[in-house]
Amino acid sequence: MSGKIFLGVLIVFFSTVFGRIKADKYRRKMDFLLAIEDFAVYLKREISFSSNTVDGIIGNFQTENLDALSLLKSWLLGTAVYPQFLSLQERQVFKMFFDKIGRSNRENEIDLISSFSTEIKSMKEIENEKCLKKSNVATKLGFFIGAIIFVVVL
């Protein structure tokens, strides 16, 4: 009996963790969008008030978000690599921005960053809703599935 209880507890634990991992997928995208939004604000400020190059600006930009960092680094190396969790349409928005950044005069750059920021903002709003709904559901669902299996095992 105690063996079954132990197994059941393990199943609940792992299914909750699985649910949590699924929930993190939504949070990860949200965190990424927040970091990119910060980057856009920083980039706009630097381009407006300094003659620092995009390389230098990226070098000075500080974020703990690894997805954002890896995207920016890949752009520096020549080919931007976008995170897998972005949809095709979202990827297109990012591509439009990263293909054009640095290629024009200051006024055009600022316009480009502003419209990119607007796009990110709307992506963020949609993602925030999804995140609130789905991440909670995923965590709870993981727990409940585990609990059901636990009852069945008992």
């Binding site: 620092n52 190059t53 995009v54 640095g102 290629r103 024009s104 005069n105």
Partner: protein, 310 residues
């Protein structure tokens, strides 16, 4: 005094390093077969063959090196030119707009790249150049001792000197060498007013040399004289009345000026603009391309007397 016969400074490494960083791979591999010490210019024109000015001759770049024949020439597209330009601007065209609007970019190693394209003009001022069609890489040279003939006429004191020739004959190279020579020989404070950052990067830097880069001459002369108290100012490519006024002000302050100027042959110069300039310069140095680049052909003094002729 053929400047290409005794290249001593590592411009080669600097010049080709920059070129090799920005050019498309098929041009890089072709240029690897070219002796860079003899390259003055590399010209990229949209949908045209890549041309190399090599030891004074215009040649085509081929996959095996250079050739006088167009048949095997390497061609470059507009898209390639835009990519090269983007790399030259360190992926940040906006940071170079002021320079681009003046028709060139200079990188940190002194490699000057002329830019041609469609100018966007607002209120009579160029605000952008788009749809680029041509890039001209001018490879800088630093040749120790190439100003020897001019220095011979400055035995006891530095003389205000104007170096005159067509483009690409070696004016800047001689001016650059004069900076080192004057600083080392006379131990005078030399201020280099380097509007395009062409003189300073390849300068074998001496102890008494200061440099103001990328500033219009007017500001550099005013602020430089006030702040740095130079005894000699060296500047490149004077043009128009404003530049002459800068030199006039420097002369009034007792500062010797060494400058370069695009100019025609001696006769035309003498008839047209010698009179107003003789008040500010003591020596007029004419380079003679027919003998070889960087060759001093004639030197005249402020009285108009020829004191040296090749």
């Amino acid at each position: 005094l053929h400047i290409f016969s005794n290249v001593v400074i590592d411009y080669k490494q600097k010049g080709d390093k920059v070129l090799f960083e920005v050019l498309p791979s098929f041009i890089k591999s072709s240029l690897k077969n070219v002796d860079f010490q003899k390259v003055n210019e590399v010209r990229l024109r949209a949908n045209r063959p890549v041309m190399v000015e090599y030891g004074g001759s215009k040649t085509y770049l081929t996959s095996k090196g250079i050739s006088l024949s167009k048949s095997d020439a390497v061609f470059i597209t507009k898209e390639h030119i835009e990519e090269v330009f983007f790399s030259l601007c360190n992926k940040s065209v906006y940071a170079y707009t002021d320079k681009i609007n003046r028709g060139f970019i200079t990188d940190k190693n002194g490699l000057r790249v002329g830019v041609c394209g469609e100018c966007v003009v607002e209120n009579g001022k160029i605000i952008n150049i788009k749809n680029l069609t041509s890039l001209n890489f001018r490879i800088p040279h630093a040749v120790k001792g190439c100003s020897k003939k001019v220095i011979e006429f400055m035995k006891n004191e530095v003389k205000s000197t104007l170096i005159i020739s067509h483009a690409g004959v070696g004016k800047t190279t001689i001016a650059r060498d004069l900076v080192s020579e004057i600083s080392d020989k006379f131990l005078l404070n030399v201020l280099v007013v380097d509007e395009r950052n062409e003189i300073f990067p390849l300068l074998s830097c001496s102890d008494t040399v200061d440099c103001i880069t990328y500033s219009p001459k007017r500001y550099a002369f005013e602020n430089g004289i006030r702040a740095m108290s130079p005894e000699v100012i060296v500047t490149d490519e004077i043009y128009g009345e404003e530049d002459i006024r800068c030199i006039e002000r420097a002369s009034l302050c007792g500062v010797k000026v060494i400058a370069t100027m695009h100019g025609d042959e001696y006769g035309n110069f003498y008839n047209d603009i010698f009179e107003p300039l003789k008040r500010y310069f003591e020596l007029f140095v004419f380079l003679d391309e027919s003998v070889g680049k960087g060759t001093v052909g004639k030197i005249i003094n402020c009285k108009g007397e020829i004191i040296y002729s090749l």
